[in-house]
Amino acid sequence: MSDRAKRRSNAFIWSWTAFVLVVVYLPIVCGALASFNKSRYFGFPIKVYSTEWWQKTLDSIEIGMLVRNSILIALLVTAISVVIATFGALAFARYDWRGRRLYQKLILLPIFFPQPVLGLALLLSFSALGIQTSWMTAVFAHLVWIVPVVTLVIAIQVYGFDPSLEEAAFDLGCSRLQVFREVTLPLLWPGIWSGMLFAFLLSWSNFPLSLYTAGADSTIPKWLYAKMVAGYTPMVPALGTMATLGAASLLLAGGVIGMLARRRRLA
């Protein structure tokens, strides 16, 4: 391939990617614009900008409850899923055992399954068992989908991990617990950290599972949907934009902390 043809194809790839990224972020920008519109109904170009709806959203007690629910669910999902998924990832990628092939495929099934159908199936099972749906059942529903994702994220880290380091620690007389704490965990830490970020943010933004399994308790995406279908107010884009900014700052902070930790370990 001549250099010119290569340059041309690279230019195409760069511009196509840039275009798709613009399209990906366009609706998020539209939501942010709508949240700063003073009038109750959206019209573009915006005549008067104001932060009135942001203020109203921040002051609303109802929305405060939603945010608390969403954070509570996401924190619990993160804490539980990271423990389960760390062991799950070791079973996925580190150890050779008899059921491993089957287990690797089983873990993918919830990811390859439409969430609205999973949510309804869970709702049906909860009520067949006589369990009242609430934010707690939503935590369980989120786990069913998020644990497999986090397991895969951590498993990628496990694949790049040298088992002889663990064996060396055993040979030097470490107990199993010591090896896990002093060797395995520190080596897997970057994967576990990304897994935690994934768990929190996927739970934070989840809509289909919360819709069917949270019962009377509402989360941010669930409330937004209810208002989108009936009863638009500019608080909808305002809260949506806040949730997006929250996720972005968490991702940014998580990335920076991860980078600093890596640098400290290398130093």
């Binding site: 539209c30 990628a93 580190r94 491993r100 390859f112 937004l224």
Partner: protein, 301 residues
Amino acid sequence: MADVAIARLPETSAELRKARALSLGARCALPVAVLLGLGFLAPILAIFGYAFATPRSFDLFRSFTLENFATIFSPSNTVWVSFAWSCGFALFTVAILALVAYPIAYGLTMVFGRAAPLISVLFVFPLFVSENVRLYGWVLFFIKNGVLDGTLKWLGLPGGPEVLFTPGITLFGMVYTYLPFMLFPMTLGLALVPRDLVDAARDLGAGRLFIWREIELPLAMPGILIGMLLTFVLAIGATAEAKILGGQSIIVISHDIEIAFTYSQNWPLGSALAVVVTVFIGALTLFALSRLDLDRMLGRR
């Protein structure tokens, strides 16, 4: 006989103990397996149970009837229309996404270099924004007097096209929502293509099209197929796009299931529909996954 039995006993019990004591890997897998057993397999079992219960009843495993399936497959019922729409949307979504994502996946593995991690993060981030927030952003973009229409009018043009609440915009919404699910498996697949092999083929005088068709595409195929399967399966079950962007101009299959579960309170019928979808998706997924080596896909770094 007795001697043989006595002689064999300790050996068998030792074997038994060995078989019973779970290996380290199995013990690590246990929490995940329990969670998925209770939270994934059991609910699917429950919908299978309900699917064979008397219509409009709540007697799980207490009655057996094929009536629900008869209702679904009877020619007077129009549920197959929803199913056909869902399948059609899913097929188009997969085809469009394959074309949209391929250049980006190629760029992420071969062209972007040091910028690749940042660009990946930019494509991952929308997954952390609820799909209904992003889809509603498109409503604000396309709606009358919205961002597109308003801008065009402001420029003195006649205004934007009325695309909202049509099947086309539903398809667009699906393509938009499921882009990351095509992009990342595809990138993993393309990362499996050894660069030296491509370079060697080029040195031997192979043309670009030839390299693409004979080397890149076949070696990246596992990843591309996973991406296609994943987007297809997720698009089959998608509802938010048809509800928010499509304004329910089209009823997709998951929406039908939801209606049966909620408004019409006919759980057995809803379950039977869910079973049809699950069997369809499950057969596809299990077939594809059985031919896949996950260690190779995820392990190569």
